[in-house]
Amino acid sequence: MSKVNKEKKVRAVPVGIGILVFVAAFIGGVVSKFAITPSWAKEYSVDWSDDLGTLKTDISYGDGEANKFDLYLPKDNSKDSYGLVVYLHAGGFTSGDKADDKKMLSWLCQKGYVACGINYTLRTDTNNASVLTQSNEIKAAVPVVIEEAKKLGYNVREMTMSGGSAGGCLAMLYAYRDAAEAPVPIKLLFEMVGPSSFYAEDWGIYGLDRDTDDSRKAAAGLFGVMGGVELTPEMIKDGSYQELMKPISAFRFVNENTCPSLLLYGTHDKVQPWNGVRHLVKALEDNGVDYKLFEATHSGHGVQNDNAVMKAYMETVDEYLDKYMPV
């Protein structure tokens, strides 16, 4: 072997090691992004154990396969009455499960609330499930949840609605639209990144704001599916679609009796538009509702880049639960 070849071989070893170390460090960086949970977040993410209370799963509230709820009952069953917190799961109205929020529900139960996760019929290619039918399922479920809690010895006197994304949308619809028919007073709403309005001009993230034939057709398709109604591009053009979208537009039901609300949104959201939040904020402002809007200014739908904002939101949820629905 020549001297030059020997030198090349001697240099290749550390370079190879360097590449391997880089790849390992890169993978480590990727894993760390998912594996490391901020210390403050652990407070609101509790592992369920029987020391916390009793967990009743898959209690039926209707004929549908998905019409099931889980009830988290606190250990202390000696009180005359309890506050109920319903947390509705995310998943774009097409996926997700009540079990996804087990840690959040366990935290609420640990605080002393009766906590409940409710499943609803998810939209598929073969069913006609819509935001409207899903919200009606939640409406049908709540009285059954309260009745079931009572049977188990937990008399519910008041409730809080909450959820994330699709669950946030459904929680708002129940808290704002269906409040008058709720079996017990709704004291608080907390939700993150749930759509509350459906104006084509706000939904630029899907190109629905372009005011073209194609964009109006797309808006009629998307909003029609969500609202469970037949919409045409002409209706999008003349604005008449808004009346048909009202039943799933939570902001339109805000009034002076609306419960205090905590809202968290990412200003770069690519799934539900930040632009649409202004209608909800205006309605809450106009009606003098106690609300707080948390803006995650570096994040999108996952509020994934703003831990400080998420922390402030969760601390305020804790504070508002103590204030408006004390244990």
Partner: protein, 44 residues
Amino acid sequence: MSIAAKRIIILLVIIVVGVVLGRLAVRGFMNILLGGTMFGGNFL
């Protein structure tokens, strides 16, 4: 400085750069899916 010490320093720099790029890659991917900025907010 010996060659061994230099190599260790280079490896440490490679590790830091690798971890930073790994975390940024995840942030970038999540931003593509959900929306968000590459910098600001959380550290990395």
